[in-house]
Symmetry: C2
Subunit: 698 residues, 2 copies
């Protein structure tokens, strides 16, 4: 399945890693059903020409106002007038785990609130609804003066962005983010309505949502009912959600034109060739190996017992998911055809720029500037990789607390990314979430991680030394986790409220470690800003302008975990020497289970076995379409011409992983759960007719 | 599915094409579950070590005497004490078509004889049972004298082989064939009991046998019930077949050790690198293009109406099958890893030979001799390819008649291959078969074929000119087919009985054309014998001896459409980013049908739709095993440790096509129909309980 964007973001943002395209370039040309289009610039002409479909402003507004972004790293949509939201089980998987405990395992057993009173409040799930989009390009760029150094230009832009965001928040009370599109070619102020009272209404068993486990992940044919239903509350009452997608229980059919409205996380469709090479040669292989070590640590822990297995399940699930996804991308970069295509496109673009003396003067140096920055980045790639702290662990939270108390004292425009005024409320709710930690799991992961880090970084690396503190890996882990109360919400609140003084005075082992780590991380971040980020921001802005000049604004920007519209047709594809079907059915679910003699991960939830005879086995389960999606699109609604919901995106096929770099509609497919199977199982397996009635508007 | 070996053989034998390995080399080493073992040299030690299985002589004899070879190009086995034979529907597909007509379409509708009286005699189906094997190497090689020229040695060998075969036939009345194993390293006299009174008992609808059509062909997961049941009669009564395989309706399970006893057609596992290169560069691309043209002609004809579609169905089916199969092999040769592996093996072998001065002197020149012959063959590759006349058409039959009357007058040892005494009975039955011809289909195929031949061969090519006779392709086709009675059995009998005089006097347009063609084909055949076949036979004999010297006789020879034993385990494999299951179930058949909304070739036979509720959908349909098979193995029984039949080979997966050159058990799988589904459908869909009872020994 698709990587929820939060995992990508943790790797991308928190870590400063240059390998994830933070800056995006406009596509040269959109071919076939390609494109993740912003709602201000939808492909009206293309849809008219190819599908005879007239995309009206009313249709667009309706779909946008029914679309949601989840801070858990995915997308969702309103599917009833009473705040009911449909998303993937795997998008809220982490949340379900946080709400579970030794008595109640919502991941394993699923959940259904038969009445409003039984609906279960999430500890820290936030949803954003895109209310408005405003082009602020002129404003942001006005602060960059001719002749400014790259670093100064970067600082000036960041400061102006923080200012715009803060001003907007104060004026509207809405979550306000300035996003960079087209590699800095445009800046837009996106204002979001924020919902924080979100409750769980229905969650299917993980076994049904994640059917086929890691083997089937990112593949097709699939038989997953990867769904969860949540409800948004406002002022203690279900939200009056007038803009919701009408449920169409017929689902989709082969050849149907469909749309996807969601928040694709990131793509690198137009990174320069030099960036791709460094990603391929310096970052991805090492990241894959590191993730493999972390996974191994979690697996060792999981094998210790059933409670350990429950605790580690989410981490292991996530590691498998991200490893398989990154491996697909890595394979894409190792594919000579993909690289040759990208090289050819770049050569054509460069030749076009070179053909105009003024363009050549203004933009022609950009590729070499990026290549030089990439070489610097490659030289420090090991440090950059290891300084990434994926997942919400105790070390990460401690570091964020140490940084928080320092950052909030600074003027808004001078702070580190992630600590601006407009981001503080979400950040505080993350830092003070009552969700549990699993220290022993973290220790087991570090037991694998540290020796590998030592081997790669050597014993004099500051990042590593800040954590080891002169001890062996074993000793350092014992010290870090032996004397900390960081898992205690009250202690965290005490530190945040007490500010720098409280943090400086703390003797908590994890905070002490975080104080040692903080300057190292700041140095690395600063180095990256000065040597890579600022240079590439300027250079990519040049490339963006060069593209506008050479090709016009006829395309879509790379993904930025903001709302986009995709389109395509429901369609099988050539696979394994034959045809993959446009959809699968419940027959296929039972086939796969029987084919593997019911062995995990192909075993069926007990309910499916016991109630099989109630089901219409011809019901479609999952279907594929040519819609162009990526991680972050998980939970996106699939919508028909009439604006009705017919499916729920939960994955891309294995052929789509290369889509990070190149979209090819021969075999790139988005995989969605059909609405038909959702109502079928709600009614027949879960006795949830009330809920099915709400969906079907009965 | 696997290409029935007769198609291979037509391309290989009748055509003189060097690209099919007529001479085989001993394998360097058998790895994993590799090997198509002769029954005189089974892998006793390997089976004992790997599976703890003691292969007894009694087990071997029992299995051999229950195994059959079908002249239709496949394999089969006795499955009851009353001469009942199980084979694939697709093996007897051509026969079913021959027995069908505008009123009765056994291909489409299937067939079931409820009583013995209703069993339907095949026009010309022959079955061979391997009675004995005798090593005649010394005898054959005794005629080759030191210093003999290659051509003379070839003639001497052929003459001696014809003599041995004739003598054996006279002495025993058994079909007697001398086969060359290990590239002439060994010669064996195989004696077969021949059965010619074969009757159709049950044939499933083509739609069920060939479910998924060309797209699913050679792929897996599959849902095909590719079965037919025939009965062998002797003296007008069902054969008393004491050696039959006991039916095990439980079929197979994941991890089971299984065996395959059948007749793999041909492999090129140890052709020299030079041979593979010429096959890759000069033969396969042209053959694929030519077959594509022939297919196009048949498709044009098929589109004219339902009767035309019925007539062309078999040809189109066969073309699709052979094109997909050859394309898989071609892809194998284009695969750099495969070629590198073969090159490395050859280099090691050459180095080993070179390390011993006597070996180097005796065998060291063989590779270069073959390479030189291959260069000559490559230079005439276009002629060799076009002179192949695949399928049983009127042109082919006319040519065989013209050659027959001339050849039978010669001493047995001097005749062309295919016209030796021991082969005459089968040949006459082929030439006098009452099976229908479809002249308009042949004309349509030639309408595509001739212009392509003209373009490739040029207007002065003797093979083409003999057919065109100074006319345009259109005119030549009209002439050839306009004045011929060759479709009339009586006319063919008149010619055969009348001998050379009758043939010389005939004014029949097809015979007149064949008389022009005969000397051209003889010249090409002679040229090929002198320049390629004789040289390579001698050289490959050297290589065979070199292998025995260097590695001993520890392995199996390349396939020769003679009885072999394969072994392996029932096992899924990595596919498409996930796992292919060890087996499929009837659930999956209905899934695939519904997934494609019942569109052909994924539509279900009406009977499956109407009687679905009678079926146990969890019944296994097809399963995969690591057994090493190839074309010709179609219809082979899959046998468990106890010598019971648990499945019926009908195909290899797409990953197995490269097995022509290299076996790799990672993903190379044989695909078989499970016995469980056969009795399930016989009882529940076809009301054929009597037959199911006979199978289950009730």
């Amino acid at each position: 399945m698709r990587t929820p964007a939060n995992r990508c973001r943790l790797l991308a943002r928190a870590s400063l890693l240059a390998f994830v395209a933070m800056w995006c370039l406009v596509s040269l040309r959109a071919a076939a059903d390609e494109g993740m289009w912003t709602f201000d610039n939808p492909p009206l002409k293309l849809l008219q020409e190819r599908y005879g479909f007239t995309l009206t402003q009313a249709w667009l507004d309706h779909v946008r106002l029914a679309s949601l972004r989840l801070n858990a790293g995915g997308s969702g949509s309103f599917v009833s007038a009473h705040g009911l939201v449909l998303t993937n089980h795997h998008v809220v998987r982490g949340q379900l785990q946080k709400m579970s405990n030794t008595q109640k395992d919502y991941l394993k057993d699923g959940f259904y609130a038969k009445t409003a009173a039984e609906e279960l409040k999430y500890p820290d799930l936030e949803m954003n609804l895109l209310q408005s989009m405003e082009n602020v390009t002129a404003k942001v760029l006005s602060v960059v003066k001719p002749g400014m150094r790259d670093q100064d230009a970067l600082d000036a832009r960041k400061s102006e962005i923080a200012h715009i965001e803060k001003e907007s928040l104060e004026q509207t009370g809405l979550r306000s983010n300035v996003i960079s599109l087209f590699g800095g070619g445009e800046y837009w102020l996106y204002r979001y309505k924020k919902y924080t009272d979100v409750r769980l209404v229905f969650s299917i068993e993980a076994q049904a949502a994640d059917y086929g486990g890691d083997p089937d992940n990112f593949t097709y044919p699939r038989y997953n009912v990867d769904m969860a239903l949540l409800r948004v509350y406002e002022n203690g009452k279900p939200l009056d959600s007038t803009n919701y997608l009408k449920w169409n229980s017929n689902g989709s059919a082969d050849g149907d034109v469909v749309f996807v409205s969601g928040n694709p996380g990131s793509t690198s469709r137009l990174s320069t060739y030099a960036e791709l090479e460094v990603k391929r040669d310096n970052f991805l292989p090492l990241i894959l190996e590191l993730l493999g070590r972390n996974l191994k640590g979690a697996e060792v822990y999981s094998a210790r017992g059933s409670e350990q297995a429950r605790q580690a399940a989410g981490f292991i699930f996530g590691m498998h998911n991200i490893i398989k996804g990154l491996r697909g991308r890595y394979d894409g970069l190792l594919n000579k055809n993909v690289m040759a295509k990208r090289q050819k496109e770049e050569q054509e673009f460069r030749a076009r720029v070179a053909s105009n003396p003024q363009w050549q003067k203004d933009y022609g140096t950009a590729w070499d500037e990026i290549a030089q920055a990439e070489r610097k980045s490659a030289a420090r790639s090991k440090q950059l990789v290891f300084s990434t702290l994926p997942g919400r662990g105790m070390r990460q939270i401690a570091l964020k607390i140490v940084q928080y108390v320092a950052e909030v004292k600074k003027p808004n425009g001078k702070r580190l990314d992630g600590f601006h005024d407009s981001e503080l409320e979400s950040l505080r709710s993350e830092l003070l979430s009552p969700a549990p930690f699993y220290p022993e799991l973290e220790e087991a992961v570090l037991t694998e991680n540290f020796p590998f880090a030592l081997q790669q970084l050597g014993s004099s690396d500051p990042f590593l030394n800040a954590q080891l503190n002169g001890k062996t890996p074993e000793g350092a882990i014992k010290e870090m986790y032996g004397g900390t109360k960081i898992a205690d919400v009250a202690f965290r609140k005490h530190l945040l409220d007490g500010g720098e003084a409280a943090v400086a005075a703390a003797t908590d082992s994890m905070i002490v470690m975080a104080r040692r780590l903080d300057p190292v991380m700041r140095e690395l971040r600063k180095w990256n800003e000065d040597n890579v980020e600022s240079v590439e921001t300027s250079a990519e802005e040049k490339l963006a302008r060069a593209r506008f000049a050479a090709y016009g604004k006829s395309a879509y920007p790379d993904a930025t975990f903001t709302l986009r519209l995709g389109f395509g047709t429901v369609k099988g594809y050539p696979m394994n020497g034959t045809q993959a079907p446009p959809m699968t059915t419940l027959y296929g679910l039972f086939d796969r289970a029987e084919s593997f003699a019911g062995k995990p991960p192909f075993s069926l939830p007990q309910r499916f076995v016991e109630r099989q005879n109630r089901l219409n086995l011809a019901t479609p389960v999952d279907f594929v379409s040519t819609c162009d999606i990526t991680g972050g699109n998980s939970g996106s609604p699939v919508i028909n011409r009439n604006g009705e919901i017919v499916g729920l995106i939960f994955d891309g096929n294995i052929e789509s992983l290369v889509g990070d770099y190149v979209y090819d509609d021969t075999a790139n497919r988005a995989v969605a759960v059909d609405t038909a199977v959702m109502t079928e199982v709600l009614r027949k397996l879960y006795d949830a007719s009330t809920l099915a009635d709400e969906l079907e508007g009965k």
